[in-house]
Structures are given as C-alpha cells and as structure tokens.
C-alpha cells in the first residue's frame, strides 16, 4: 500500500535544495538588485564556476576582508579588466583540461564604459565565458554618477537637473545590440523582477560553449530614489512600459522577447523615482522630455515586437503581464 502525500507547487519549490554560491552577510543596501542577481545567477550556474568580478558595488559589498559572500572561486582585479581576466582564467582551464565555466559580473560602468574594450576583445576571441552585466544605470559605488547606461533625462550627481538641464542629455547605450553584433551565440536582456527568467537564461548560456552575455536590469533604491521595498515593482514597470525591453538574440538576430500584455505609460515607472522627479514640474521642457521618453518606449515596443494582445492562460500569479514567448508550457492548459 502506497502512501500519498500532497504538497502544493509553492511548497515543493521552496523545498528544492538550492546551491548557494553567494550567501548572506554582505553589506548591500536594502532593496539592492545586484545582490539578488549575484545570488540567483549562481543558483542557476551551480558550483562549478569561477567568477571574475569588475570593481563596483557587488565587489565592494561582498568581500570586505577577511569576510566574503562568495562560495565559488572569485577574483577581482581592477575596474575595466574583468572580461580579460576571465579570458585568462578560461585559457588556463582549457590548457589544464578543466571544464569549469567562467562567469563575469560587471556593473554598467564596468561593462558599457570603462570595461567596454576588454568585453569586446573577449567576445571577439570567442572565450567560453558568461558575462553578466547588472545594470543599475549609473556609477552607484562612487555615489550615483552618470554612465553611458544612464537613461535619457535621468538626474545623477554628474548629470543633475537644474534650470539649464533636464538631467542626462544623451541616450542610454544599446549595449545588447553592440554585444550581439559580435555574432556571439547568445545575448539576452532580463530583469531582476523576473527571477525565473534570469535562471532560465543563465542555464541556457551555461550550456553554450562560447561567449554569452546577460544584461540584467537592476534597481538601486539609493541611486534611483525609490523606497527599497519597491525595487521589484520598479524593475517590473521598466519592462511593462517598454523602457527596458526583454529580448534574446542568437548570432546577432533576435529570436525571442518577453511580450507585454498590458502596456503601461512611462510615467507609471518614472513617477516612483526621484531621479525623474524634475520631469513632473510644470515646465514645457519637462513635458517635452516626458514625451521623448514615451517615444523611446513606443519605439522599443515596435522595434522588438513586444506588444501581445492574446490573454495569458498560464498566469497564476495574477500579475497579468508577462510570460516569455515559446514557453515550454505555452499549450499547457490544466
């Protein structure tokens, strides 16, 4: 006679043993996206990885000697060379006949700006490395200075809003397109609002022998000026408005995206954050910038084909927004 035990899906999921490569005790701010990304990415990679970390918040808050949150081999050299250090580690592993995967963590400064050259070199030489960029859209570690990833019109300490300026004057660099233009096997964007999407994409990248790139949108409550308990909500709104499109590219071509079923106006996202507060002033220039940002979101939605009108039968969470295309469970209807 067999005993039948019942367990609901949520409990079952919570009881799954998980590999913890990045553990508690670090000094990240409450609501930090980067800390969640560090933990979730390593849950998906498992223990057989070596991490190269660019200088930045993640490196600083996780490794104050003699303590470390990392339970996988971890190395930090300088700000702009994580991709090159990873290339060297990978070459050594190859020479020694070891097959651990090398994973890079870099912020937007270390990826879009100062580490851009070493990243390009690593991709071109086709090293077997997964590069994870946690993108909090400014130099947060040094106190919120503008980077080439800072969105248009956002205020930072080096692109402040004032009488003569509406925050950052330039556009956010389209890093994933630039990366994909190296014709690497796999490049994707995702957001800390969608942990299962991060894990799925990490697993996919891990299975590829070659350079892969994951660009993860990651709120910084301090730098963006929102409550720390709103990080996930803010990150989700960036996706739902079309400002941060979630896409997948193979060999330079888009092969998938996360469709948006209920597209929200960009103001829903912007109004939660102090860095965009100057756009809500009674000022024609502010209104013009709001229109500009809405136009950018609309452009993303058309460019990447993000609009989805069909209902989502699999949405059990009640969020009624997003499930990725080509889901394994797309035709599954319990």
């Amino acid at each position: 006679m067999t005993t039948v035990e019942t367990i609901n899906c949520r409990e079952l999921r919570e009881q799954q043993p998980r590999f913890q490569g990045f553990v508690a005790g670090h000094r990240a701010c409450a609501g930090c996206g980067a800390a969640i990304i560090g933990r979730v990415v390593l849950e998906a990679t498992g223990p057989d990885v070596i991490v190269a970390n660019a200088t930045g918040c993640l490196e600083v808050f996780s490794t104050a000697w003699p303590q470390s949150s990392w339970r996988v081999p971890w190395m930090h050299s300088v700000f702009e060379n994580a991709a090159a250090v990873a290339s060297g580690i990978e070459a050594a592993l190859k020479a020694q006949g070891r097959d651990s995967k090398v994973v890079v963590f870099g912020g937007d400064g270390g990826t879009f700006d100062i580490g851009f050259q070493t990243l390009s070199g690593m991709l071109e030489r086709f090293h077997n490395v997964l590069y994870v960029c946690y993108d909090n859209e400014a130099y947060m570690n040094t106190g919120i200075q503008r980077s080439s990833s800072t969105p248009h019109a956002a205020a930072t300490t080096t692109s402040p809003a004032g009488k003569a300026r509406m925050g950052k004057r330039h556009l956010k660099k389209d890093i994933v397109s630039i990366v994909a233009a190296h014709h690497i096997p796999y490049a994707a964007t995702t957001s800390v609002a969608y942990l299962s999407d991060i894990k799925r994409k990490v697993r996919r990248a891990m299975a590829i022998d070659g350079p892969t790139f994951l660009h993860i949108h990651s709120p910084c409550p301090l730098g963006w000026g929102h409550e720390s308990n709103l990080s996930i909500e803010v990150a989700r709104l960036a996706v739902e408005t079309g400002l941060f499109p979630i896409i997948e590219l193979e060999r330079g071509h888009q092969v998938g995206c996360m469709p948006i079923r209920n597209i929200k106006p960009v103001t829903d996202y912007l109004k939660l954050q102090k860095r965009f507060q100057h756009l809500f002033a009674d000022d024609p220039k502010a209104r013009e910038e709001l229109e500009h940002l809405q136009a950018l979101a609309d452009y993303n939605i058309e460019r990447f084909g993000l609009r989805e009108d069909k209902p989502d039968n699999n949405d059990s969470s009640g969020l009624n927004v997003i499930h990725r295309q080509q889901s394994r469970t797309e035709n599954w209807n319990p």
Binding site: M75, V85, G88, A91
Partner: protein, 391 residues
Amino acid sequence: MTEALEGSQAIARTVAACKPQVVAAYPITPQTHIVENISKLVADGKFNCEYISVESEFSAASVVLGAAAAGSRAYTATASQGILLMSEVLYDIAGLRIPLVLTCANRAVSAPISIWNDHQDSMAVRDAGWIQLYCADNQEAVDTTVQAFRIAEQLEIPVMVCVDGFTLTHTLEPIDLPSQEVVDQFLPPFKFSRPLNTASPISVGTLVSPDYYTEVRYQHQQAMRGALAVIEQCREEWRALIGRDSGGLLEIHDDADAKIGLLVIGSVTGTFLEARELFTDLPATRLIRLRSFRPFPVTALQQACTGLETLIVVERAFSPGGGGIVGNETKAALSDAKNNTLNIINVAMGLGGRDMTLDTYRLLIEKVVNGELQPGFSIFDVDPNKLAPTA
C-alpha cells in the same frame, strides 16, 4: 649548442622551453619579434600553449593575470607605451602576489614619440612591486628568462626581464640556448599555492580596510628584500647546472688601481667594458653593472663601491624636475654606508636611442677627470644647436 640568433628569437625559444601554458601579448616595437617568434613556434606545433592575441597591452597583462591565478604558468612581453598601458594591472598582479614573467623590450616613452631604446618605460613602473632584472646581453636575456620563472614562482612575485630594445632584441649574437633537459631540471612544473579552483573556492582581490592594508604592503616589502638572496641563489644553481655565470644582483669588473667607479645598467655594459680595455691612456675604472634594480641591492652596492673616490652613475632615464632614478637610489643606498664621502656624479645619456659608443666612454671619463662634471645630476651630450628657441 651555440647558435647565431636574434635576441628576440632566442628569448622566444627560451620562453617556449619554460613551457608556459598561456601567453598573451599585443604587438609593439621593439617587442614584436618576440611574440611573432612565439606565435610561429605555436603555429608550427613546436610549442603547445594557449596563445591569446589580445586587443591591448592592458588586456595582455589582465589575461596572464587571470591565467596564473587559475594555476597556469603564463608569460607576456611589451615595451614603452605598452608597459604604461599595463601599469594599473602590473600593480594589481604584484599586490595579489601572482607569479608571472614579462619581458620588457626597453624603449623610450612619448612624447616626443620614439621607438628607440632607453629605460624610461620600465623605470616608470619601478614602484609596481615587480622584481626588475636588467640584462647586459642576449645570452643573459636567455638565462635570465629561465631564472625569472623560477624566482617568480618561488617567491610569488612577478618578474620583469628588461632587455634593451633593438640593441639586444634585434641583434644577432652567438647564443647558447639551454637544452630542454636543463630547463626542466632548473624549473620545476608550476604549482601555485592559491589557484582558483572550484574544489576549494577562495576569494582573490577582496576589499581590504585600513586594518589590514599596511600589513599586506609590509609583507610585500619583506618578500622583495627576501628576493635578494633568491636571485643570488638562482645564479649559483644556474652556474652549477650549466657552467655559466649568469645572473645575480650586480656584476663587478674591477681594476686594482681604480678610484673612479662607473655604475651602469643594461646593454651599454659591453661597450664600456671594451672601452676600458681600449683606452689605456684613461684612468683605471671599476665597472659595476646593476642587474637587479628591484629589489635594489643596497648592501652589495655598498660593498662594490668600497675604496672608490668617485662614482659615475650612468643611466638611460630620469625623473624630470628630480634627477636620475638609479642615481638617487644609489645616493640613498650609499648614504648609509661607511664610505659616504664618495663623490657621486649622475648622468642620463643614451636617451631615445642615442648611441652610447666607445667615444662616449672616453668623453665621459675625460670630463670627470677635467672637473667638467660635478657631483649631482646632469643630462649628458646635449647639443645646444638643437634646442628649441625659448621665449
């Protein structure tokens, strides 16, 4: 077996005999022939390594850093602007105590741009925490390359082997390349004490607070002082193994009557040795050749200067607004010595590839004898007709 080899070719073949698993480099004159020769050895199947053609010297240094941290013997080479571009990583490599060998094909630094030889490039990174060994000829460059891996791996301090660009790198000389058996005997396989390994994870390059920083720096200084003995020990073991005296901290060519000493560094040694023999009308000199600039061999230099009245420090770099780099270090070293009454004349010459000939030696000694060169620093051989008009 002695062969006629270009310096770069000899260095490349020696590097291959040392069997680094990873080589990363970026082309720059006059280093290029070294990495071209290594690439060819790899292409011909004579040297099995991961050869990474990187997109800059900055990445060359970073790649070999990552490779060595993961437990592979690794090698790179550069010069001039390349070493300056690497400099941030050079400090990091040394601070992390990662064993590596880098050949610097010494060349002047811009501006004005010059592809020719002097020592401004390696001198600019003298504080990076690397051991710096300056070679007098290509035979020594070969021997030093093998010794460098041994020194680096024993001490976990990176070693820079400095060879004069063109003068050595592009010159054919009869060279005895050590056999593979000799190299294998002298250089055991690299077994790094702290490799990145998923079986026993460690965190490397963590943030260090003021509570620990001083102690890390202190240990680096201690290790560098300890390197003095290891460099000498390698010289002894090399001599025992191969029968050739090559290496050590410094080299002395004495003359019983010498009251004038010459302290030189690099390939000018050969020229000045010949001039000493040729110009019998000039006063006798003691030629001291500094091989190890980092660590600076204070005691050995003090002993080498015993009995001298005048010491001429000849160097191929300087610190504008300061003076000679080797000169100032020499003065500091000798100020602690009993013989601190020594007159120290410091000249920079051979800048940006200007030839240092037999006649240069004659002119230099004559000026010292005639009292035209006083203690202190000056730049030798300045032609007033070539100076730009001043406002």
